[in-house]
Amino acid sequence: MTTTEPTSATETSRPGALLTVTDLCAGYGAARVLDRVSFSMGVEAVCVIGRNGMGKTTLCAALTGMLRPTSGQIVLDGRHLERSQPERIARHGMAYVPQGRRLFPSLTVDEHLAMLAKGTRGKRWTPDAVYELFPRLAQRRRNGGAELSGGEQQMLAVGRALLLNGKLVVMDEPSEGLAPTIVDALIDATHRLVDEGVAVLVVEQNLRAATEIAERQLVMVSGRFELETTAAELRASPELQRRYLGVDA
């Protein structure tokens, strides 16, 4: 087994990294959930895996500015974001696909995209480009966000995030509650994004989705990364799966 030990803060700041997180701490009130999280990634796909309650969603919240970190640094493309408001972080290129999609029930599919269409003209991702990526959405333009199937909702949540034309897309449990064929479509979409130069950070609990989305796997235990491993190793090791994902082989 060639799993590497978690690298220390100084070592993670690779030159040219898109996102560098250093000693990030965050929590709710007195409860510290993230305990000095450090990692770094370039334009690639990275998965954060771990069981429930280990701090994966808190990590997403801290990265996107929804939860103000208590200490530590978040540097995206050379800019410090740990003290920024969510809208500034998003504008700087961190797009967010939250757990549970969080679509707007009052808006139709078209409106979800139209409200963000300003400033996308001439860029890679426009509402039309999103419809091209997910043709199923195009058929449901007039439907409300709440009338879509789980898969369509997830497509819309991803499409909405793409309209930011960001550098990094953070996805929190995108495969949750989806049928296997839809998960496949989602995995394809993440691969296309990385091919086009957009980094993807995915929080996953689903072993298959996690290992197919990214080769790099960061394992979160009790608010810190205990281990970095690869998809191949994770797939091959029932022991790792059982210990870190609670999957009984």
């Binding site: 929804m66 409200m115 995030a161």
Partner: protein, 368 residues
């Protein structure tokens, strides 16, 4: 393809099953049937009373006195128009920012005073203005200027006092309450304690005959303005990017911010529109019934009743709430037995109690 859709369906079901219990406890269901029946019984009883049995009332049974019935209906409709203009601004601000703007009525009254002063200086008289002295512009310009002025004041209040208390509902409510007390005192000092009236333009001060009764054109003019406001509001919220952002913000403010939208600007614009509507309603109200110290509190209360009935934060709710409340206000005194007319006000509370018993969050409201 078929297999895929079937599986998607399963995923859907799993998701919905997780979020809501599939089977409701029997007690909730039976309460619901009970309240539905209660509503039907109340509705039928009221309709029968108004149509046939209301002989000893000031309006008389509708089958005997169709004219009086029509007038009461129109009174209710036109007053509902005014209610809607004022309450829609209130509900818009609440829906997006969760701010209960207790100074909404103060903005209403201040706009009325400003418009009255402006009209007086435009006409060149400060008392006894006749409708024939007032051209349509001498009504419209004060209306727009005064509404704009209080809209700016509203934004200043929001930026100066509310912005840094965002998310602290109680604190914001108390701050706006303080603003309303201060404004009430200042208005009393500036504009005096006497009732004042804005004068309708001469062109709409006419009467026409309807089913044997005379009816004021100005009231229909007021209803028309309210309809224009409703249509513009609808177009704005449904067909502009800003409107979509506002509706999205009502659903999930945090998510809107995570999509890179500067919610502070959206808040400012929404507060501007909300205060503008309060001011617009204030000028309409001042022309319709006059204003005096205390009108501010009365219109805050009116707005609250409309949005509690309709559901806080919903424009459709504001329409429904205005209609119901407007009808209760016009029908209750007209169709109570003459010696009990004095108790008509009670029916406002009956309306509130009935609606809240059936839908605790109002007709179109969503639970927090």
């Amino acid at each position: 393809m078929q297999g895929e859709s079937a599986r998607t369906l399963d995923a859907n079901e799993a998701a919905s099953a997780a979020s809501t219990p599939a089977v409701e406890p029997w007690s909730i269901r039976s309460t619901r049937t009970f309240t539905t029946w209660l509503m039907i019984v109340v509705g039928v009883a009221v309709a029968l009373w108004v149509l046939v049995f209301a002989r000893g009332t000031s309006a008389g049974a509708a089958i005997d006195e169709p004219g009086a019935f029509l007038v009461t209906l129109l009174d209710g409709l036109t007053f509902a128009g005014l209610l809607f203009v004022v309450a829609s601004g209130f509900t818009l601000v609440f829906g997006l920012m969760r701010t209960v703007n207790m100074a909404h009525g103060s903005l209403f009254l201040l706009s009325a005073y400003v418009a009255i002063e402006l009209q007086q200086s435009m006409v060149g008289k400060d008392r006894n203005i006749e409708a024939s002295d007032v051209g349509i512009l001498q009504w419209i310009i004060p209306l727009l200027v005064a509404s704009f002025a209080v809209a700016v004041l509203g934004v200043v209040m929001q930026q100066l006092l509310l912005r840094w208390n965002q998310g602290q509902d109680l604190r914001q409510a108390l701050i706006t309450l303080a603003v309303s007390v201060i404004l009430a005192d200042q208005m009393l000092a500036h504009f005096g304690g006497l009732a004042q009236r804005m004068v309708w333009p001469g062109a709409v001060v006419k009467f026409f005959e309807i089913a044997g009764e005379r009816y004021a054109l100005s009231r229909l003019f007021m209803l028309g303005l309210a309809l224009v406001v409703a249509v513009l509001l609808w177009l704005w919220l449904n067909h502009t990017r800003m409107g979509m952002v506002i509706r999205a913000g009502v659903d999930d403010q945090e998510m809107v911010r995570a999509l890179g939208i500067n919610i502070t600007v959206v808040f400012g614009i929404t507060f501007f529109v909300g205060a503008f509507l309060a001011g617009f309603g204030g000028v309409m109200g001042a022309s319709f019934a006059g204003v005096a110290p205390g009108t501010d509190g009365q219109w805050l209360l009116n707005s609250l009743i409309v949005v509690i009935v309709g559901g806080l934060g919903s424009i459709r709710g504001a329409i429904a709430g205005s209609l119901l409340y407007g009808m209760v206000i016009s029908f209750a005194p007209a169709y109570l037995p003459s010696q009990y007319t004095y108790y008509a006000i009670i029916f406002t509370f009956v309306l509130l109690a009935l609606v809240l018993a059936v839908r605790p969050y109002g007709l179109f409201g969503k639970p927090e």
